[in-house]
């Protein structure tokens, strides 16, 4: 017995306390985990002892280890033991460990309820204080429910120290247990007028947080807060109150009007930047809500903008950032006031800090006008060249395109310039926005008719040099541009100067290294070009040309047939079949070029974004009914090779829905068509690889460029920018524009009318700028089912979460 005691004391002497532990860890930097594993074993031994001091020591060490990242949840019960000790220091250690490591899943939490209750009602205020502290970190719905009453009594305790803590904890309680809000609320209101300023500010804090999520419940408190705002001098409290008001004003416009006066006073008088910033933010919020146009609020906006300018000009980065942030909020509602500061923003673009540059970029969005668009874009491109991070470069790129394309290209006067910008952008390395560029090219080419000729010639050059771009196809967005290029060449092939050369370019073997969907576009467009060439050849009765083209196709197309991508295979096979067919017909002397060309008759317009949803369901059609009998799990989903290719004729019919077509010698009857349709539908339902093409929406498959598709991303690494002969540089357009501007300055008064189709905007808004004539017009025709009004505003309501539960009417 005595030996045991001696042993125990010895061990206690050798126990490491916290200092030793820390020193030990620092000394054992190499084998840290081993050392820590040893320590954990020792700690486990210590925890088995009865002596609370030892246990507390052990728990202390455990807390330290937990901070380093080791899991200590196995010690939860021991921690509770320590928490229940009567000595304050041990108790504190226990609570600290608990607050660090306990969370909702900890099972032993229910043991703590009574203990916490006891601690909270203890005479020693430090006990209750530490209990409240710990509770705030690991409170759960059960705990909240049980302890809510006790905390409420504490709110009225005689010691402000405890009152403060209790008030702040109530917020956490409310989050976990919303029903506590209603009874507690009157007490909370009282605390707002508590004599102790600390308690007051705590109450303000809590109510502000609550009100931010559910403002309408707290409108009744507005007068009270108003009084507080005007009387208090504590900046922290003021900031919170002002923030609260900015949450309330959207609901109560009269409040906003009353607020402007004291807020502007504050803005003038305060020297604290934080308060200034908060006031400006709130003023903006207020002005957004009373946009009905009171005369004097333009003065407030001017004031805000002035102050923000001072912020931005300050050398402190933080203030600059905040100034830019607030400016962009103003920009959303009052773009005119911000435009005067364009020069400052452009300066900010050169700043070293990336976040500032991004903010300035955002602002630029609202500041472009016809005249400065070219300069700004040029500047952005220069930035892009020397930008370090690729993320920033991507941002720049997408922003540039956004700026240029906003409101149907309102500000782009010269589309040739824009197309050349797009082409230059393709030379940008390593960007993931290739798809965006491709989309833009397609968009421009389709909608701006006048530019098609130019666009097509540029695209043809791109194609011829496609081998340069096709090099690294892992994470490559640039390849997408080839997709657009091929499509444009095919669709508008009448503008091509040398279709045969382009055809050859499209058939180069390097193409097979491109991703599958791009290859399929290529194959498709090969057929279109082929049709064009045939037509031209027939008109000239040039048989040798025809033969050349035929042999060319016959040689090169089989490469595509061997491609791994199913789409490419399909298309290549069908085209090869057509070509063979046509050759046979040629030998018989029939002129088939017309029919081939008719495959592609009809102009394609962009489809409105929600058109698919708006298509009215025809009567008598039940979308939920099976078309055929319910398909049985047939095992021939993997259709063997031969039958797959034999059904290519059906696939033709589906692919070429958008045009008139008629086979030269083979006229299927009505019933056969129906039968084929039925066969095809079952085929489609069974084939997992077939991309379904809806008949309703007029959405031809290669228009999928407008939808999001999975793009196999690839890395492109061009160390030297390509200089491709024939591609025009964008600079020459800028120079051209400047020259014409100078010439036109004299003719300002003659009032050029803008020839944009379908635009509602009047000239009055731009009266203070020179009217720069649009060189090309943008078509805004959009495909949509009849009767579609405009795009819906479908709110996507975010899921409610905790704050919805707090939405209780408190009156």
């Amino acid at each position: 017995m005595a030996l045991k005691k001696v042993k125990g004391t010895l061990e206690r002497v050798l126990d490491k306390n916290l200092q030793d532990l820390v020193r030990g860890i620092r000394n054992h930097k190499e084998n840290e985990s081993k050392y820590i594993a040893e320590c954990i074993d020792e700690i486990k031994q210590e925890l088995k002892q009865d002596n609370l001091a030892i246990k507390a020591n052990a728990v202390n060490k455990l807390t330290y280890l937990q901070m380093l990242g080791y899991d200590i949840s196995w010690a939860a019960f021991n921690i509770i033991e320590v928490m229940s000790s009567t000595k304050f220091t041990f108790k504190r250690i226990g609570y600290l460990a608990a607050s660090q490591s306990f969370h909702e899943e900890t099972d032993v939490l229910m043991l703590t309820t009574n203990m916490i209750r006891k601690d909270m009602s203890s005479q020693n205020m430090y006990d209750s204080g530490v209990a409240l502290n710990g509770l705030s970190c690991f409170i759960t719905p059960d705990l909240a429910r049980d302890l809510a009453n006790d905390i409420m009594t504490l709110m009225t305790s005689s010691r402000p120290y405890l009152r403060k803590k209790a008030v702040l904890i109530m917020y956490k309680v409310f989050l976990q247990f919303p029903e506590a809000l209603r009874p507690a609320f009157p007490r909370l209101k009282e605390k707002l007028e508590d004599p102790d300023p600390g308690v007051q500010s705590a109450a303000v804090n809590v109510i502000c947080e609550l009100a931010r999520k559910n403002p309408k419940n707290y409108l009744s408190l507005a007068p009270l807060f108003f009084k507080l705002m005007t009387t208090s001098t504590n900046n922290w409290v003021l900031i919170k109150i002002i923030k609260l008001f900015s949450a309330l004003t959207p609901l109560e416009p009269r409040l906003g009007k009353k607020l402007i006066e004291p807020l502007t006073n504050l803005i003038h008088s305060t020297s604290a930047m934080s308060l200034l910033y908060e006031c400006i933010n709130t003023v903006i919020a207020v002005l957004v809500s009373i946009s009905s146009g009171i005369p004097n609020h333009t003065a407030s906006i001017q004031l805000c903008v002035q102050k923000l300018r001072i912020l931005i000009e300050d050398s402190d980065q933080n203030l600059k950032y905040l100034g830019l942030l607030a400016m962009s909020r103003i920009l959303a509602t009052h773009p005119k006031s911000v435009q005067g500061h364009k020069d400052l923003i452009l300066q900010c673009l050169d700043d070293r800090d990336e976040s500032i540059r991004l903010r300035a970029l955002d602002l630029l969005y609202g500041m472009v006008s016809k005249k400065n668009l070219m300069e700004i874009v040029k500047k952005l491109m220069v930035h892009m060249d020397k930008a370090e991070g690729s993320h920033y470069r991507d941002e720049l790129l997408s922003k540039t395109i956004e700026i240029c394309s906003q409101s149907n290209y309102q500000y782009v006067t010269n589309f040739e310039w824009y197309v050349s910008i797009l082409v230059e952008l393709t030379r940008m390395e390593g960007t993931k926005h290739g798809k965006l560029i491709a989309n833009q090219m397609l968009d421009v080419a389709i909608r701006v008719q006048a530019i098609r000729h130019f666009a097509v010639s540029q695209m043809a050059i791109l194609l011829e040099n496609s081998h340069l771009l096709a090099n690294n196809s892992q994470r490559n967005g640039i390849c997408e541009v080839l997709h657009a290029a091929a499509w444009i060449c095919g669709e508008f092939s009448e503008h091509l100067s040398n279709p045969k050369a382009t055809l050859e370019a499209m058939l180069k073997p390097k193409i097979t290294s491109l991703p599958g969907h791009i290859q399929s576009i290529f194959v498709q467009n090969i057929l279109k070009l082929y049709g064009k060439i045939l037509k031209a050849a027939e008109a000239k009765e040039d048989d040798s040309l025809k033969k050349e083209v035929h042999t060319l196709l016959q040689e090169k197309l089989p490469v595509f047939i061997q491609s791994g991508d199913l789409e490419v295979q399909e298309r290549a096979c069908s085209i090869l079949q057509i070509v063979k067919y046509i050759m046979k017909l040629e030998e018989k002397g029939a002129a088939v070029a017309d029919e081939v060309e008719n495959l592609y008759a009809g102009e394609l317009n962009p489809v409105a974004p929600k058109a698919q949803k708006k298509v009215p369901v025809p009567e008598g059609l039940d979308l939920d009914k099976w078309i055929n009998e319910a398909p049985d799990d047939s095992s021939d989903e993997e259709v063997p090779g031969n039958t797959f290719f034999l059904t290519t004729e059906d696939e033709h019919r589906s692919s070429y829905q958008h045009g008139d077509e008629s086979r030269p010698t083979y006229e299927p009857t009505e019933e056969e068509l129906e039968k084929r349709k039925a066969i095809r539908k079952t085929e489609v339902e069974h084939n997992p690889h077939y991309l379904k093409d809806d008949g309703k929406g007029h959405k031809p498959r290669h228009k999928d460029a407008f939808d999001a598709k999975d793009i196999p991303v690839a890395e492109i690494d061009l160390s030297v920018p390509l200089h491709v002969p024939g591609l025009s540089s964008s600079d020459k357009y800028m120079v051209l524009q400047q020259k014409t501007e100078k010439a036109h300055k004299g003719k300002k008064e003659k009032g050029k009318k803008k020839k944009k189709k379908g635009k509602g905007k009047t000239q009055a808004e731009e009266s203070d700028e020179d009217e720069v004539a649009a060189v090309h017009t943008v078509s805004t025709i959009v495909d949509a089912p009849e009767g579609m009004a405009g795009s819906d505003h479908e709110d996507d309501k975010k899921s409610g979460d905790v704050y919805k539960a707090l939405d209780i009417n408190l009156d």
Binding site: M67, C137, K165, A202
Partner: protein, 141 residues
């Protein structure tokens, strides 16, 4: 406030106070991410960083980074001031505090944090009051 983090330049956590629930591995990940983001920035950069869907307000004192993670809508400058307040209190309390002080007396640092911030909000801003409380607490030991 979502969490408060004190890290040194090497990435070791000196203090981590979480006001929101995260799993352990999430916490580790967060710590690493914060470290990665904050150490790259030099004096020319702003003290605010956008981070996932929150914001980090940080300040560097010698070799330590004091980071507070707040909502996007919170006022940055307020929390910057709060950090400075906190550091001044620590300085007073430990008499010219250095990193080792924080390491060896980490539980005391936690009590300072709890005095000044509670349940994710700023609780006490007056340095004298906080110091008075802390002195009383330490006299109990």
């Amino acid at each position: 406030i979502r969490f408060i983090l004190i890290q040194n330049r090497a990435g070791k956590t000196r203090l981590a106070k979480w006001y929101m629930h995260f799993d352990d591995d999430e916490k580790q990940k967060l710590i690493e991410e914060v470290h990665a983001v904050v150490t790259v920035r030099d004096t020319k950069h702003t003290n605010f960083v956008e981070f996932r869907n929150f914001k980090i307000v940080y300040r560097r004192y010698a070799g330590l980074y004091f980071c507070i993670c707040v909502d996007v809508s919170d006022n940055n400058l307020v929390y910057l001031e709060a950090i400075h307040n906190f550091v001044e209190v620590l300085n007073e309390f430990f008499h010219n505090v250095c990193e080792l002080d924080l390491v060896f007396n980490f539980y005391k640092v936690y009590s300072v944090v709890d005095e000044m911030f509670l349940a994710g909000e700023i609780r006490e801003t007056s340095q004298t009051k906080v110091l008075k409380q802390l002195l009383m607490l330490s006299s109990l030991e």
